[in-house]
């Protein structure tokens, strides 16, 4: 797995994406598909390495909910950035199922998508190949305010507005 943007910094990633546990050291951090988690739950739980789950945008958060306490990481793979199902998945994992671990967007991820993704509860990002990290990081700050309630800021602007306006933020 390439470098990951976390807390607006580039960090190296320890997770190894695997389809089975054959030959994987017990203390390695692994990223597994839902099928493996469903069949090898106990084995995975007994390992000392960290555990991550790989989801596609068509997957159902409800089916994942029971495993969340075991997970350090949920990866959502965007085959296309325009597949908004991934946005709903992140929100549901955070707001409905209370997941506090890392939610990472991978696949077709680039500067313009970060503003939306981060508000839906993604806190880690792997850019698609060829994107400039420096340029992409500016994507978080393109907008200084947003109208809606979001995972980042659970109170919508209309509940914060009087205070926000009277603070005299820069116009």
């Amino acid at each position: 797995m390439p470098d990951v943007i976390r807390n607006r910094r580039i960090e190296t990633d320890s997770f190894l994406r695997v389809e089975s546990l054959d030959g994987v050291a017990p203390d390695a951090d692994v990223l597994v598909p839902l099928a493996l988690l469903a069949t090898q739950r106990d084995v995975l739980q007994a390992r000392s390495g960290k555990l991550g789950l790989w989801l596609e945008t068509a997957d159902e958060p409800v089916e994942v909910a029971q495993y969340l306490p075991l997970l350090d990481l949920v990866v959502v793979h965007f085959a296309s950035f325009a597949d908004g199902r991934g946005h709903s998945i992140a929100r549901l994992l955070r707001e409905r199922h209370g997941f506090r671990g890392e939610i990472r967007a991978v696949g077709d991820v680039f500067k313009e998508t970060l503003f939306y993704l981060s508000r839906c509860g993604f806190d880690a990002f792997v850019l698609r190949p060829g994107e400039s990290v420096e340029e992409a990081l500016k994507g978080f700050d393109v907008f200084s305010e947003a109208y809606q309630a979001s995972v980042e800021r659970p109170s919508p602007l209309f509940r914060r507005r009087q205070a926000a306006v009277s603070k005299g933020l820069p116009a």
Binding site: G84, E112, Q148, A149, P156, R161, L169, A171
Partner: protein, 559 residues
Amino acid sequence: MYQYDEIDQRIVDERVAQFRDQTRRFLAGQISEDDFRPLRLQNGLYIQRHAPMLRVAIPYGVLASRQLRKLAHIARAYDRGTGHFSTRQNIQFNWPQLEQVPDILAELATVQMHAIQTSGNCVRNTTTDHFAGVAADELIDPRVYCELIRQWSTFHPEFAFLPRKFKIAVNGALEDRAATWVHDIGLHAVRADDGEIGFRVIVGGGLGRTPMIGTVVREFLPWRHLLTYLEAILRVYNRYGRRDNKHKARIKILVKAMTPERFQREVEAEWAQLQDGPNTVVEEELARIEARMLRPRYENLPDGAPAELQRALQEERAFRRWHERNVHAHQVPGYASVVLSLKATGRAPGDATAEQMDAVADLADRYGFGEIRVSHEQNLILPDIRQADLPELHAQLKALGFATPNIGLLTNIISCPGGDFCSLANARSIPVAQAIQQRFDDLDRLYDIGELDLNISGCMNACGHHHVGNIGILGVDKHGSEFYQITIGGSQAPARLGRVIGPSLGHEEVPDAIEALIGVYLEARLHAEERFVDVVERLGLEPFRERVYAQPEAEVLYA
């Protein structure tokens, strides 16, 4: 009209800066064509037949005179001097240069306007009754809720990448002037017996290639729950709407595939989780928006027609006609709303030149409170005119070519840009509209025919609402040439879809066919009040079909 505060302004300014940066990177070759496409689309920028087309939002159809002047300026400075008012309370510019679009957006931002989400698979500009706030038959003014929805839908984090575009319409009057039954979501503002305001929620209507009338999913949704309920609907759609085939991706297809009953259960289950959450609307917010809506300061005028008006009505036939067709009742005594017809014969429906826009802005300042409305019938409206000023205003409008007394009549044609501009078109629409207008140019005849909506689309995407026209004309492609399919019996309110009368016709045959339809109607109607659409309802298609295809020219096409 809603006045931005510093936050609204900042968000729009930041959008301009963002698009400037994206355009720069695209032109420098740092963003590929494919990647730039969705970015420009979310800013209303299409690439069409001749040049880019820029679609600018006119939120809920309300414009201030300074905004209209800005649109005129943009038409002059960046386009070829005209703008096209669309059926969705947008204005489209057909000739901007890509390099200049960031500058256009910056100019728009100076008058609190934007092109945000005017295309792309996101929540589009929310539309409403063009007489909102002034109509005599209004239950509540829907615009405060429209603004609430505008803000909620602008850069919504979860619903920026839906399966397909998403259109919401709100109506607050007895008559549905917002086509709510043919929108992805239609909202009817209603007042409960105890006075509480709420909404009837209709989902899954739409035109396009699979026209459908929407289904009521909730009879009464109290106003506080408006946003949480919209979130529930959008979430169900976002997760389960089809993404494999864009022709099957609209919410109407999902509602049909799931059945309305199951769809409703899914929405209610989702809503049960969101209900009373942070998106629950608070009274302070409605009050805040209301306070920022610039309301006209009406004078205290006596009820009833003033002497100037009575005189003109008695003495001038042309004025009387115009008053009958183009003047609409107002909720405040002594005032009226005036529809400016953008449908004069020989002009592309919905087009206005920069000079005309400036002139209308001047009239709005001089006779009204500086406000203009844009209707989905592609006309402009001066909403607040003192009745005593009507004769003088009529004279001015006449000089400008905006006084054609044809609102509600056959020549008030709704038409999409069609093959002259749009790259998706099967056939041209504007020349067909013009040919029909020419054929029915005689006002006496037009009046005799009475109320009739004629709508034209250049392809099955139905931008010209042809399905809900009493007469609908659809451009089709037959072996590479332009043909037109005719439907009759459609209606916008109550929402009904027209039915096809028979094989499609060539360009030159269309006016004859319309003539034949009108001929049957005039012979068959029982009295002058029985409208074309009523006769179609009563007699069915057959007599109309027979007459149209009895014409020798048309017969050839059966072969």
